[in-house]
Symmetry: C2
């Protein structure tokens, strides 16, 4: 067995998603064999993030500054706000580089099962943000799940009466999706939302 | 996009074996969302290992003390030395808890292709360790590869004339191995080394 300190590190790493006990051990060995080229840089990067991590008070993004890089970026269009469930969704969308506006992270989704109520999510801050004016469009980018869509409906109700255009992500065939393998729900959505060609 | 500090951390994590860019990003999000319960303990564990990491001057194991925990353990039989290629092999064998002796890590295997010569491995220290006396058995636990077996042969030659018994790990069917799926080499080994029943 390795020393208690090394075993403790293996256990901590094994708790990361995507890593199990075996791969955590392999990762530790990788680090141990490359103390200067891999271990030190990883430790530096982790420390830097851990010390500066902060939640953006405006949009709920997690970043190393508050307001976050996106909220502070004057090139991004503040008139458009994309609402997402989690920070992970914000990152995923932003990697596509197709949305030029700002974001709003709810911090979850409404769920009767898990006891998540509207006041547990950043819905009120969103309403205030929109009511403050200067926002033309709110893109509802919840997951295409029952709970995600319930959350989207709730937000739609809450924003009613405010002078803002509400849109949602298109639902339909994923790129590369083969009809044969897709569920009926997706096919029904794709058929219902069919559009004229050309 | 996340901040440069977070992106740098994702890149460092993505270099670990078993993690790619996607899973590294997921791991970072996992840490960010659990700053106290996951991020802080991981950072503490990494720092502890990084600061105390040392190679055992006796056996080549990597541990947080020198001599390592195994070499320093008086309950382990110093008359038996198990020779392995890498620290990872030592850990793997030791997890089986079946070997009560000490180890010797070569730090690789002989390889004409990669230009690894005997003097690049800890073979001379092994010979000195055995020649110093007090060793009854040397278990050659190289990988069952061409290079591993070449290394084992070389060590056998080098230890010739020393009053020590040389053994090697058994080769044959792996536990759960189905003949149908095993390569001819393994089957040939298993057949050649067949033993009387009961």
């Amino acid at each position: 067995m390795a020393s208690p300190a090394i075993e403790a590190l293996v256990q901590q790493l094994a708790r990361l998603p995507g890593l199990g006990p075996r791969s955590a051990r392999r990762a530790v060995l990788h680090l141990i064999k490359r103390r200067e080229t891999a271990f030190a840089p990883l430790l530096t990067a982790l420390t830097a993030v851990h010390e500066t991590l902060v939640t953006c008070q405006t949009c709920g993004n997690v970043d190393t500054s508050d307001p976050c890089g996106i909220c502070a970026d004057p090139r991004r269009d503040a008139r458009s706000i994309c609402v997402v469930e989690e920070v992970a969704d914000l990152w995923a969308l932003d990697r596509s580089r197709l949305f030029p506006g700002k974001y709003h992270v709810l911090g979850g989704k409404l769920s009767a099962l898990d006891g998540v109520r509207p006041e547990d999510l950043a819905i009120e801050p969103l309403v205030r943000r929109v009511a403050a004016g200067g926002v033309d469009e709110v893109v509802l980018a919840m997951n295409a799940t029952l709970e995600g869509q319930t959350t989207a409906h709730y937000i739609t109700d809450r924003l009613e009466g405010l002078p803002v255009r509400l849109t949602q992500l298109a639902h339909g065939l994923p790129v590369g999706g083969e009809l044969d393998y897709l569920d009926e729900g997706t096919l029904a959505q794709a058929l219902r939302a069919r559009r004229p060609v050309g």
